[in-house]
């Protein structure tokens, strides 16, 4: 056993970390309590590798930690000023391509994108805004979809398919016109089978999918990221539990 463990290790920023066959760099890091920034990754869902916040340099090659299998002996740089600068720029890209309204967003303080920006020391959007026109879908009686704030992480797409056993969301369009669509004949949320109890209704890391009639129940100052750092391991469960209503 100990021989096995010794053999199956990777090194992240000089720290030796064990891994099991089939684990990604992200899996191994999180299991060992090492934080690698991420937005589109959630344990239990198929790794996606699209947000690129989790870029690390493995043996001097840039890879996504959430999709790259851990390989014995891998030497990985993660928490370095250069990589965090890259991550900050990517976070700025996510801010300026959408239309984010942090101060008035219901997700303020519970938003992982916002927390990521604070974590990386982002002070502004830096780039000129794209000011894209994106549609709001308020058709559903209990769930609201505001594409202005969508970061195309596809957590809702995967949660719906892999956890809820439905297929409510998909991405359509190409390039900068990529956008979240709803799988219903009308394209409206109301005609889909999305329910408030679905994981897909709660997993949104930003304020693109919101539960109606539950605004500001937790005051600013007592929200997830007022009390926690985004880099705390295992926080996903806290966020998800917090987002769900207790009676669900």
């Amino acid at each position: 056993m100990s021989a096995d463990t010794k053999q199956n290790t990777i090194t992240i920023d000089g720290q030796e970390i064990p891994f099991l066959a089939g684990q990604t760099i992200m899996d191994a890091a999180l299991a060992a309590g090492v934080y690698i920034p991420h937005l589109c990754h959630r344990q239990g869902l198929t790794p996606h590798g699209s947000c690129k916040l989790c870029v690390v340099d493995a043996d001097n090659r840039s890879v996504s930690a959430c999709t790259m299998p851990a390989v014995a002996g891998q030497r990985i740089s993660n928490n370095t000023p250069a990589l965090n600068e890259v991550r900050k720029t990517i976070t700025q890209m996510l801010f300026i391509e959408g239309n984010h309204i942090c101060p008035s967003c219901e997700k303020c303080g519970d938003c992982t994108l916002q927390a990521m920006a604070y974590h990386l020391g982002m002070l502004d959007g830096h780039f000129p805004q794209f000011f894209q026109r994106r549609k709001v879908d308020a058709s559903h009686p209990t769930i609201m979809l505001d594409r202005d704030r969508c970061i195309l992480c596809e957590l809702c797409v995967r949660a719906s398919r892999e956890v809820d056993g439905k297929n409510v969301f998909a991405i359509a369009g190409r390039g900068i016109n990529a956008h979240l669509i709803v799988n219903s004949a009308s394209g409206k949320l109301v005609d889909s089978d999305l329910e408030t109890s679905d994981m897909a209704a709660h997993i949104c890391p930003v304020g693109a999918i919101l539960i109606k009639e539950h605004g500001y129940e937790v005051p600013i100052g007592q929200r997830t990221f007022d009390l926690h750092q985004v880099s705390e391991i295992g926080l996903e469960k806290t966020i998800l539990t917090k987002a769900r209503q207790p009676d669900e």
Binding site: F130, A170, A172
Partner: protein, 603 residues
């Protein structure tokens, strides 16, 4: 099924029509792209209702059909004209290639603005990425048919033909004449294989020896990446799966590349022979040729070659009487998406999805089409394989350099007197190539297309090979007279348009690069903007998900390194200049108020 009585007759008629189009298309080919193409062609758009019906008929999620329609450039939710005209916007075969804006001229004649359909529904006009006619001057597609060697006089005649609603069959046939323009022939182009000779040699060898022959030949993928073809086949052969597949990547989308068009046109037999050799070596029963939508006009020809090969017993069951060796090839046509040239995106597209590159590993050799072991190779690679099986690996290795065996077929275009197809042994210098194509005063050469390398005259002694200048086949020449910044801007627009949108660095980054370059080219850039370009380009290159993003910034980085003056001379010498141009922002207001006097401008 449907209740016709209570719907208005027009709607019922449309509904019935859509249904019958879908049903008929589906029996021709069950591929989603084919069904959508047929709808687009016959209804001039794919309506919400059509999306709904396709989803029902093909038993696919509504969202999948919808997302595919919105992904590919040749599918439209808003009706196109009965004449749908798409100008190439490539630097070699684009509407500006002759120095005049042909699209603007046609727009003026027809009273139409680019990317719009005229109100009477007669005609629509727009631009599209390189259509692979780069050795034929400015070119366009009208209802999918290429017209080449355009000039202003032809544009005037086209406008008149459209207005008179003359069917395409009655337009001057010479306009549609696309030539091979083979200028230098080498290993592969010199002699055409007669159909079946490669297969007979292969059967005599047996599968294992066929594979070793390919490995020993040192053949590497001709798409540009240069992976050992024999090793790829071997990995696929060894991979466990319910079925193995052979896929030919004929999605030649790199601007400036057109050699596959010529190979498909004049060497289709060798291509299908090479695919069959691969099938034999890896144990595949089904193959696919993924043909780029821009080359759809080659489809009848390719289908006839396939039919002839079936008749000759070179495809189908028990090929050449070999019991148990069965293989056939279907053709799937793309619909305008450069990203589908990336092999895993191509497989996604084959499966009827958006062309989004997959996470790798696993690689297609173990998890490809429908999750099964799949070989994806370039057109030229398969043709080389067919020749190698017949003539031997030593014959192939005798040409080229140590690590780059054999020959490379180049598509040469741009500022040279003899654009066309040139086949050279690997190791040829750029200088030699420029001499042969009669490029008199080249200041720069784009090797391997926009995703490749931009080099200047001090590097013309560099060689084409996998260890020096690697290329998928595109070679664009730019003379001293050429505005290189305009070229780099063109490429940046291309990548922003073709980014699939999956990963953040490429999705947002290619647009930021495009906008930044536009600012510099527009005379509003500062030193700061230039530094930003460098920083952003490096990030996009290093951190993107796939080859598209990883190469999209190459022209900018190469340009900044080798031709800093083309950027420098456009800069304004201020510390900072805002992206927001106050005067340009007033343009809409000026148009509405019909004013253009001094007081309507802000300087």
């Amino acid at each position: 099924m449907k209740n016709v009585s209570d719907a208005d007759s027009n709607t019922a008629g449309t509904t019935g029509l859509i249904h019958s189009i879908i049903a008929k298309a589906y029996t021709e080919s069950p591929h989603l792209l084919h069904v959508l193409y047929t709808l687009q062609q016959q209804c001039l758009h794919i309506s919400e209702e059509a999306v709904h019906k396709v989803a029902a008929h093909l038993d696919l999620p509504h969202s999948q059909v919808d997302s595919v329609v919105e992904f590919y450039s040749f599918f439209h939710k808003i009706p196109r004209g009965r004449y749908d005209i798409l100008f190439s916007n490539c630097t070699s075969c684009g509407y500006m290639a002759g120095g005049v804006d042909l699209m603007a001229i046609l727009g003026q004649r027809l009273g139409i603005v680019a990317s719009n359909t005229r109100n009477d529904g007669l005609v629509s006009m727009g631009q599209t990425s390189c259509i692979g006619m780069c050795d034929h001057g400015a070119a366009l597609l009208v209802n999918g048919m290429p017209i080449v060697n355009l000039d202003a006089a032809m544009i005037a005649r086209i406008a008149a033909l459209v207005e008179a609603e003359i069917p395409l069959e009655d337009w001057p046939s010479g306009w549609f004449q696309v030539d091979d323009n083979i200028r230098v022939s080498g290993l592969l182009l010199k002699d055409r294989l007669s159909a079946g000779t490669g297969l007979r040699a292969m059967l005599a060898l047996g599968a294992a020896d066929t594979l070793s022959k390919i490995i020993q030949s040192g053949l590497r993928g001709r798409g540009g990446a240069g992976f050992s073809t024999g090793m790829k086949w071997q990995f696929c052969r060894e991979a466990q799966g319910a079925a193995h597949y052979v896929v030919c990547n004929a999605d030649e989308g790199e601007p400036g590349t057109f050699k596959d068009r010529v190979l498909l046109h004049s060497h289709a037999d060798s291509l299908f022979e090479g695919m069959t050799v691969c099938a034999f070596a890896v144990g595949a029963k089904q193959g696919y040729l993924y043909l780029r939508g821009e080359y759809r006009y080659l489809l009848p020809h390719l289908q006839s070659v396939l039919a002839r090969r079936r008749k000759l017993g070179l495809l189908g069951v028990d090929i050449l009487g070999q019991p148990g060796f069965s293989f056939d090839i279907d053709i799937v046509v793309g619909a305008g998406a450069y990203i589908c040239g990336e092999e895993s995106a191509l497989i996604e597209s084959l499966e009827g999805k958006r062309g989004i590159p997959r996470v790798r590993p696993p690689f297609p050799v173990t998890h490809g089409y429908r999750g099964q072991p799949t070989v994806v190779n370039n057109v030229e690679t398969f043709i080389a394989a067919a020749h190698i099986v017949l003539r031997g690996s030593a014959w192939f290795r005798a040409v080229g350099t140590g690590k780059s065996a054999g020959s490379k077929i180049l598509s040469i275009s741009g500022d040279c007197a003899a654009p066309g197809i040139y086949e050279y042994p690997f190791g040829v210098t750029i200088r030699q190539v420029l001499h042969d194509c009669m490029a008199k005063d080249a200041q720069a050469v784009q090797v391997g297309g926009p995703s490749g390398t931009l080099i200047g005259s001090t590097e013309f002694d560099r060689r084409l090979s996998f260890d020096d200048l690697s290329t998928g086949g595109s070679l664009m020449v730019f003379s001293q007279a050429r505005d290189l910044l305009a070229v780099i801007v063109n490429f940046a627009h291309f990548f922003a348009h073709e980014s699939c949108g999956f990963c953040t660095p490429c999705r947002a980054g290619t647009t930021l690069l495009k906008n930044g370059l536009d600012k510099i080219a527009g005379g509003h850039g500062t030193r700061y903007d230039l530094d930003e370009m460098q920083r952003l380009a490096t990030l996009v290159k290093c951190r993107s998900h796939c080859g598209l993003g990883q190469t999209a910034a190459n022209p900018i980085l190469d340009g900044l390194q080798r031709f800093p003056q083309v950027f420098g001379q456009r800069l304004v010498h201020r510390d900072f200049e805002p992206h927001f141009d106050l005067d340009a922002a007033l343009e809409e207001a000026r148009q509405i108020s019909h004013r253009d006097d001094a007081a309507a401008h802000i300087e």
